[in-house]
């Protein structure tokens, strides 16, 4: 007799909506969204979670998450999340922000959310470029990298060097969990999910500010194929933005997830 019992090993998370994506082919936003949805499902947080969407490609993030969501002004998601979390401390509040949003226009808001030890979780998508406005230089753009607003390559003499947010935020006392991961292959995606889990665990334990920086691809604006873009993350971005744990609260270090 052949066994007919089948086990479901892969399905759409309840926290994820069944809609077509608006993201470009090869973009890793979809991967990041799914990881967040899986973690929220696994932790049973969906019914008490409030997401804060940014301005940028993921401005419509709320279309993909089956949970309460608000849409912030450009860069202000950590302030908006603060406003929510302080009146609903028992709810789970997270922001989802790109590099222009978080590291340029929203630099003050992200820094001070961490300085206050705001008990929120930040998912930070670093793809070294402004996607939504069509490929301009971001604070995380690599030296020499050509964008529509650095057409001759980012000149570090006039435009400075890429900013490393995980390193900066790890120096702040209010931070409980600050790590950088990458989405360029399956092994790193698995590590990214574990990091997202720990970031939400930090919030559920009231440990303070948590952020996962995810190196991501932007094939459209990098003018690369999907695979070339993933290779670019591994070969060009990782050396500038080293992966690793920059700050891990001792409570989390002993946690098995």
């Amino acid at each position: 007799m052949v066994s007919t019992t089948a086990e479901v090993i892969y399905q759409r998370p309840e926290s994820f909506t069944d809609v077509h994506t608006h993201y470009c082919p090869g973009c890793t936003h979809g991967t990041a969204h799914r990881l967040v949805a899986e973690v929220i499902d696994e932790m049973g947080l969906r019914e008490k979670t409030i997401g804060v969407a940014p301005v940028g490609c993921s401005v419509f993030a709320y279309n993909y998450f089956n949970m309460d969501f608000v849409e912030a002004a450009h860069g202000r998601a950590p302030a908006m999340a603060t406003g929510i979390k302080r009146v609903l401390p028992d709810n789970t509040v997270f922001t989802y922000q790109g590099d222009g949003d978080l590291a340029s226009i929203g630099m003050a808001e992200i820094m001070h959310a961490a300085i206050r030890g705001e008990n929120i979780t930040v998912i930070f998508i670093n793809n070294a470029i402004y996607g939504m406005t069509g490929g301009q230089m971001a604070p995380t753009t690599l030296p020499g990298m050509k964008t529509t607003s650095s057409p001759f390559g980012r000149d570090v003499e006039t435009a400075g060097h890429p900013v490393r947010m995980a390193e900066i935020l790890s120096t702040i006392d209010g931070s409980s969990y600050i790590v950088r991961r990458s989405l360029h292959n399956a092994a790193n995606i698995r590590k990214s999910k574990k990091a997202i889990r720990l970031a939400f665990e930090a919030q559920e334990r009231g440990l303070g500010f948590s952020m996962v920086e995810l190196l991501s691809s932007c094939p459209t604006n990098w003018k690369l194929t999907a695979q070339e873009a993933l290779n670019f993350v591994a070969d060009e971005m990782v050396p500038v933005f080293p992966l690793g744990d920059y700050k891990v609260s001792p409570t989390l270090a002993s946690l098995k997830v």
Partner: protein, 374 residues
């Protein structure tokens, strides 16, 4: 309850607490700082939220976040700080969530000074932020009226899911006078059905100001406009003093209106039939009442602590039916009752008010006054 001797900023903040404010997010700025200080002292012990934000930009976006939860939330600031908040104010208006914003106005533009001014009339009454929206604007003229306005502001904000600005000049924030605070109101337990609070047992709520299809944005703009027409119909507030037989109608709001009432009392003693119309809601403006009074009085004198901003609205309503004259002090200067009395007497004696723009004649009178004061 008994009257207490209260400072404006403290009284307004306490009024908000008693009206059930659950969160205050702000940034220190003179002459509104005591408002924030009062909240810092009081809110934590009540189990409510207080955050001194890193900037007014962050403060208003915290307000935006809390407003999306349906909780009573507010901020208070002063002119340059309110300029910084305009981004968030527009988003709050676009998302149609209730919020109360207090502006203790000071002299400007730019850094200006910390003296009392009404120079933010345009910014507050006409919107100030980008896009099509209509804020409700209350302009109380005493500490007591300010206390009452704060409670009203929350009720209106929730009734219409609207921004309500309470605007006073720095005098009102800083001065002390006897006033009575209301009893503590109970905080409502129920969560509005539109609010974000976690999608438990219901579909997800999404609160946003983005309508990427122009047709959808237009529907939103239309909804806001129709709501505003309702507000115009239902929520106009004004005060009057000795208007029944008045021949000269003085119009002023806030401190300027209050100083004008002293001048009107003195003018009456000299046999001049002057009366006061003092709008309490600058938006919606008491247009209908002004049209009625235009049929009764012979002259209008507009008194403001700015360059004649409300004057423009009044000219639009009166449409040249009767002569309008203007007296303003700017830059943080508060007019004295005697100055306004002098203006009332001048208007009473002036048989041929000429200029098309009432400001033209006022400018030369003000230049003379300033050189005389030096």
């Amino acid at each position: 309850m008994v009257k207490e001797f209260l400072k404006g900023n403290h009284a307004f903040a306490e009024a908000a607490i008693r009206a059930g404010v659950e969160a205050f997010y702000g940034y220190p700025i003179t002459p509104s700082t005591e408002f924030l200080e009062h909240m810092a002292r009081r809110l934590p012990s009540l189990g409510r939220a207080f955050v001194q934000a890193e900037s007014e930009v962050a403060a208003i976006n915290m307000v935006y976040g809390a407003a999306c939860t349906g909780k009573r939330v507010m901020t208070a600031s002063s002119s340059p700080g309110v300029s910084l908040m305009m981004e968030g104010i527009s988003y709050i208006a676009g998302t149609e969530v209730p919020a109360v914003i207090v502006n203790i106005m000071r002299g400007g533009p730019g850094l200006g000074n910390i003296a009392p001014s009404q120079g933010d009339y345009y910014q507050m009454v006409k919107g100030g932020g980008h896009g099509d929206y209509f804020p409700i604007v209350l302009a109380p003229a005493s500490v007591q009226e300010g206390i009452d306005s704060i409670a009203l502001a929350f009720d209106l904000a929730e009734k219409y899911r609207s921004i309500v600005h309470v605007i006073v000049d720095g005098n009102m924030g800083q001065m002390m006078e006897p006033a009575e605070l209301p009893p503590m109101r109970e905080i409502p337990k129920e969560v509005p059905d539109w609010a974000v609070a976690g999608a438990k047992g219901r579909d997800a709520n999404i609160l946003t100001s983005i309508y990427i299809a122009p047709e959808d944005e237009e529907v939103t703009n239309l909804r806001l406009l129709k709501r505003w027409k309702e507000i115009e119909k239902n929520e106009v507030l004004f005060d009057e003093y000795l208007v029944d037989d008045a021949e000269i109608l003085v119009i002023g709001f806030g401190t300027a209106g209050r100083v004008a009432s002293s001048a009107i009392r003195d003018a009456r003693e000299e046999g001049i039939k002057a009366g006061l119309l003092r709008p309490i809601t600058l938006a919606p403006f008491p247009s209908q009442r002004l049209v009625e009074l235009t049929k009764q009085v012979k002259r209008i004198l507009v008194v403001e602590m700015n360059s004649g901003m409300m004057l423009d609205d009044i000219m639009k309503i009166v449409q040249g039916e009767i002569p309008i004259e203007f007296y303003g002090r700017m830059g943080g200067v508060t007019p004295l009752p005697d100055e306004i009395l002098g203006e009332i007497k001048r208007v009473a004696a002036n048989k041929e008010p000429g200029a098309e723009d009432p400001r033209d004649e006022w400018i030369s009178r003000l230049e003379q006054l300033i050189s005389g004061e030096k």
